[in-house]
Assembly symmetry: C2
Amino acid sequence: MRTFAVINQKGGTGKTTVAVNLAGRLADLGREVLLVDLDPQGNATSGSGAERRKLFRGAADVLRGERLRDCAVCSVGGRYSLLGAKPDLAGADIDLPREEEWQTLLRRALAEEKENKGDADFVLIDCPPALGALTINALVAAESVLIPMQCEYFALEGLSDLARTIRRLREKWNPSLHIGGIIRSMLDARNVLARDISEELRRHFGARVFNAAIRRNVRVAEAPSHGLPVLKYAPHSVGAEGYRQLGDEFLERFA
Amino acid sequence: MRTFAVINQKGGTGKTTVAVNLAGRLADLGREVLLVDLDPQGNATSGSGAERRKLFRGAADVLRGERLRDCAVCSVGGRYSLLGAKPDLAGADIDLPREEEWQTLLRRALAEEKENKGDADFVLIDCPPALGALTINALVAAESVLIPMQCEYFALEGLSDLARTIRRLREKWNPSLHIGGIIRSMLDARNVLARDISEELRRHFGARVFNAAIRRNVRVAEAPSHGLPVLKYAPHSVGAEGYRQLGDEFLERFA
Ligand SMILES: Nc1ncnc2c1ncn2[C@@H]1O[C@H](COP(=O)(O)OP(=O)(O)OP(=O)(O)O)[C@@H](O)[C@H]1O
Ligand SMILES: Nc1ncnc2c1ncn2[C@@H]1O[C@H](COP(=O)(O)OP(=O)(O)OP(=O)(O)O)[C@@H](O)[C@H]1O
Ligand SMILES: [Mg+2]
Ligand SMILES: [Mg+2]
């Protein structure tokens, strides 16, 4: 079981879209995947076709000590398992820090799941756009980090803060935590800004920048309103082709 | 002095870009404006041409009790005043809730400023993409809320959570808080999804949806790397024209 946190404190960089579509592609390739929605907005939950207010249990229950296997549901279409975000997750960033060893709550829940031999091949954790208590839980639980990026100035500016946070958590809580990959999630290849920033990313992160980039494509933005990954909603679109390539490259790097 | 919180817990909807460019336009029209950067990412600070690590004092100092007039700097080009975000703002979402009456820290700081007759015509508060302690401070301090929106599914889904939070804060902390306007900040008028969601917004929010919409325009995304509003960076661009119209409509509605 390999655990990845999909994170970027810059908002709107494509975290949820990458998490949902990568989970869908890996499932299509026969892997067992658990998608964890750790964002109170619950976008990965609705993007997978589940209704956050109708879930019986969710991520907040696991952080309160419930067993993960009692909370995860199967996503629509039986593609991957989903631990959804119910509205009760909203208070977690303020409440969690009052618990003893709150930083390791998610790691302990995933470790228990692993021992029960019910584990998945891959766990993907969709994080909120912040470096608060929920994101810290994901970084302590994960062995590797995927960073979706828009090729724009504010997103680039935020990377140094993110790299600093990952270093600090590696030293204090999780020695195996490292940057697994940078994913350009909505590339507009025509404009110069995107090309300049892509080059800047390669200078800083080298081979950790995925070759597969997802082009900006309206089909990708339409898919969530149908509760489907773009692979199922518009299989012949530029966006779906991008996510097929991304899934294949992910397995080359991590399988 | 009228105070506006620029807020949307959905990430990447254009909060910072609206706050910086609206401040720039109102200043061009002769108004005294204070831009408050309450996001630890510090994008409104760097987007105004200031260096967050070189600021003498910032928003975190004001939340610790320093006088606002001792902390605000003039933005580059002398257009508007900026209370910037230094990196020390990052711990606020976890630390603030330990203070007595932490929800009203910013409101008290702005009220003191108002008494000193040094007040601005408008205060715009750029918020982080979350409903944590910093955003709550902004909502308690503001009389009105501006909500930048992408015309996409996840952003629409988040509006009901946002409206509920505003209602709760109005009842408990701030009776004058209301939704002043919804701003379509990066409209791609060619696609059907954007048109459908624009109609949906009008159905729910009626006249509170600003007529002026900002078209998606790469010049807008390039401007922050030069520390300038798009009005100064590319005055003849579609983006600059959009922000001139937005500023004019803002004054029609609120001056
Ligand atoms: N390749 C793409 N082409 C077009 N639109 C896209 C693409 N990828 C994502 N989007 C859209 O961009 C918006 C932002 O993406 P998404 O919500 O996945 O980002 P996020 O990082 O999860 O945001 P948050 O910070 O709020 O969690 C969404 O409306 C999504 O549908
Ligand atoms: N009209 C536009 N055309 C093109 N790009 C835009 C436009 N408005 C904003 N952008 C770009 O979109 C990205 C998101 O905008 P911005 O950072 O202002 O959103 P935000 O809501 O403040 O994000 P966060 O949730 O991280 O605070 C930025 O890279 C910005 O430069
Ligand atoms: Mg998301
Ligand atoms: Mg912002």
